[in-house]
């Protein structure tokens, strides 16, 4: 009762302290919401690819410029520890009605990589297919593919045609992203590797060397184990097949490193914001303690202990911080919403679980208690006589 009334006595001052905490909490929530989202995405990619090595031409600046010969592909397959290998090509084809080209990967029907794309309508690619593709759900939406012949349990009649510049094919199936939460992986199509090689005359760009075909890393510990096995096997592939370089998914995707950097950055910004608001709370509470010096002297005179005075001031800090947290969390959520609008939907996945809210409240309380600790200690240390004589 008393702490709250004390805060209400100086409404403007208390409000500024609350805002200061709210800004720190908003920063915390939005930064962690975004970085946790990033982390979760890459972790999920890790779940799918932890037991794979991605083999590219040594020195290739990007997968598109990497070429792998059929002999090298066989040599990778022959390395001990490589249980299977999926060859992969990358092809972009122009669409007559769209400004951007349409992206395809080329895979062998029945290969390990192919098997990770779950067909949800129509049928999968078969070894006999030449001018047939399966497309991701997102791509099908974007291109307006007619789904009437593509039933959930197979083809019903003629598969729809897909006209691209220089190539016309049939869409025989729709697949779902292997990572449900990473929808952009279903924003492309898959063509048969044979077509890619023979019709387009293109070379294999990448080989995925599988250490444990069919195995998915379910827990973060599995991801780490897969990455460890991969790191051990990679040098053997490098040695056995000159001119190629094997990478784990972690090395392959810069994103993993970026997540670590972004994490560190998020921590630094949050600490800074928290520090600034601790100083703000200290300042506010110190002014308020000085203002009330005589009252504190009176309270000591009527039997209040130092400890009780300390608790009253700390309680004021806690109330400020809870109010700051209550205000800061929605502001943080608003910031995330605003930035995901600016950054256009899709890639910015926001991850906000209960733990972040709990952490935000924890940070707020920490700020309030730490910020009011020195003022509370000052108040508790006041000599009653001095306080009563204070002018």
């Amino acid at each position: 009762m008393l702490p709250l009334k004390n805060l209400l006595r100086r409404k403007a001052r208390s409000l500024f302290a609350v805002l200061q905490i709210a800004v720190a909490i908003a920063a915390f929530v939005s930064i962690y919401g975004v970085t946790q989202g990033l982390r979760a995405q890459f972790y999920r990619i890790g779940q799918v690819f932890a037991y794979d090595l991605i083999v590219m031409r040594r020195g290739a600046p990007s997968p598109i410029f990497s070429t792998i010969s059929p002999e090298q592909l066989e040599a990778v397959r022959a390395v001990e520890g490589v249980r299977a290998a999926s060859a992969l090509g990358i092809q972009f084809l122009a669409h007559p009605a769209r400004p951007q080209p349409v992206g395809f990967v080329a895979l062998e029907p029945g290969s390990e990589l192919m098997s990770r794309y779950r067909i949800v309508r129509g049928r999968p690619l078969s070894p006999d297919d030449r001018d047939a593709v399966v497309v991701g759900r997102l791509m099908a939406e974007q291109l307006g593919v007619d789904l009437s012949a593509l039933a959930p349990d197979g083809l019903r009649g003629d598969p729809p045609r897909l006209e691209l510049v220089g190539w016309t094919c049939r869409v025989v199936g729709i697949f779902e992203s292997p990572l449900e939460e990473v929808p952009f992986l279903s924003g492309m199509g898959i063509m048969p590797l044979k077509t890619y090689r023979e019709t387009f005359g293109r070379p294999v760009n990448l080989v995925a060397a599988h250490l444990a075909p069919g195995r998915r890393a379910l827990r973060i510990a599995d991801v780490q184990e897969g990455l460890r096995l991969g790191r051990a096997l990679a040098p053997r592939i490098d040695a056995a097949v000159p001119g190629l370089k094997a990478n784990t998914i972690e090395d392959f995707l810069d994103g993993f490193k970026q997540v670590a950097i972004v994490d560190g950055f998020a921590l630094a910004i949050s600490l800074l914001a928290a520090l600034v608001s601790v100083i703000g709370v200290t300042n506010t509470m110190l002014m308020s303690v000085f203002d009330r010096t005589k009252e504190i002297g009176l309270l000591r005179a009527v039997g209040w202990s130092r400890w009780r005075i300390l608790r009253v001031i700390e309680a004021e800090g806690a109330i400020l911080s809870l109010a700051g947290g209550a205000l800061g969390i929605p502001i943080g959520l608003g910031l995330i919403r605003a930035s995901s609008l600016v950054l256009e939907g899709g890639w910015l996945e926001v991850r906000l679980d209960l733990r972040i809210y709990a952490a935000a409240v924890g940070v707020a309380v920490f700020i309030g208690l730490l910020g009011s600790f020195y003022p509370a200690a000052r108040a508790a240390a006041l000599q009653p006589t001095e306080a009563l004589r204070y002018e």
Binding site: L2, K5, N6, L8, R9, K294, E295, G297, L298, L299, R300, A301, V302, G303, W304, S305, R306, R308, Q383, P384, T385, L388
Partner: protein, 237 residues
């Protein structure tokens, strides 16, 4: 002291032996060896010029500060050996200062109840006590008012009610009538005398006002940190 244990029944409410108080490392000698005693149930005035050490002495008796040297017994206990001075002040002493020190954002009732907060009394009992005391000081109609809505005399009467809420054995008042009109002053003095008569409360009151001093059983006069006329049957310095 511990718990709700009351002071042991003794004859003396206050016994001061050679009490010295220096400030600023001896630069200010506020009390230069004060020796006196006050019996239980007595009403004693302390008089003396400004700056002579009256407030200092009252604060020492009230365990708000410790003497530089000398011995102080309050309600039968040597203050140097009381572990919980806060509890002693809260349960057995009542203070009235020249300024009311009411907390501006609390009502009169809430202000009066401040000394009861550490005691964990049942809420209904606390409210009843506050209402009763405010009634007694003539503020029955002001219970839920904030101090700003009250006159200076009313605020000081509320401060008196606050001093009495825990039924103190010893009431210490520092110029309680110094900043109020004479009617309020007389009223406060009436209340002190009746408490003394009804409950045997010991009252020590600092005053500049000869009328107030005249209503007390006797006066102690302090000049320049020393008692002028030692009284109470104790040996002088």
């Amino acid at each position: 002291m511990n718990g709700t244990e009351r002071a042991p029944a003794g004859e003396l409410a206050v016994r001061a032996e050679d009490v010295v108080k220096h400030y600023d490392g001896g630069l200010v000698q506020a009390l230069r060896g004060v020796h006196f005693s006050v019996h239980r149930g007595e009403m004693v005035a302390i008089t003396g010029p400004s700056g002579s050490g009256k407030t200092t002495l009252l604060h020492l008796i009230g365990a708000l500060d410790r003497p530089t040297s000398g011995r102080l017994e309050v309600l039968g206990r040597d203050l140097a050996h009381v572990r919980d001075l806060d509890a002693l002040r809260g349960r057995e002493l009542g203070f009235v200062f020249q300024l009311h020190y009411l907390i501006p954002n609390l009502t009169l009732r809430e202000n009066v109840l401040l000394p009861t907060v550490p005691l964990r009394l049942p809420r209904t009992e606390r409210r009843r006590k506050a209402a009763e005391l405010l009634e007694r000081v003539g503020l029955g109609h002001r219970v839920d008012f904030l101090p700003v809505k009250c006159s200076g005399g009313e605020r000081q009467r509320a401060a008196v009610a606050r001093a009495l809420v825990n039924d103190p054995e010893l009431l210490l008042a520092d110029e309680p009538t110094g900043s109020v009109d004479s009617e309020t002053g007389a009223r406060i003095l009436d209340l002190f005398s009746s408490l003394r008569d009804e409950r045997g409360t010991t009252v020590i009151v600092i005053t500049h006002n000869p009328e107030v001093a005249a209503r007390c059983d006797r006066s102690l006069r302090i000049v320049d940190g020393r008692l002028l006329r030692p009284e109470g049957g104790e040996a002088s310095e």
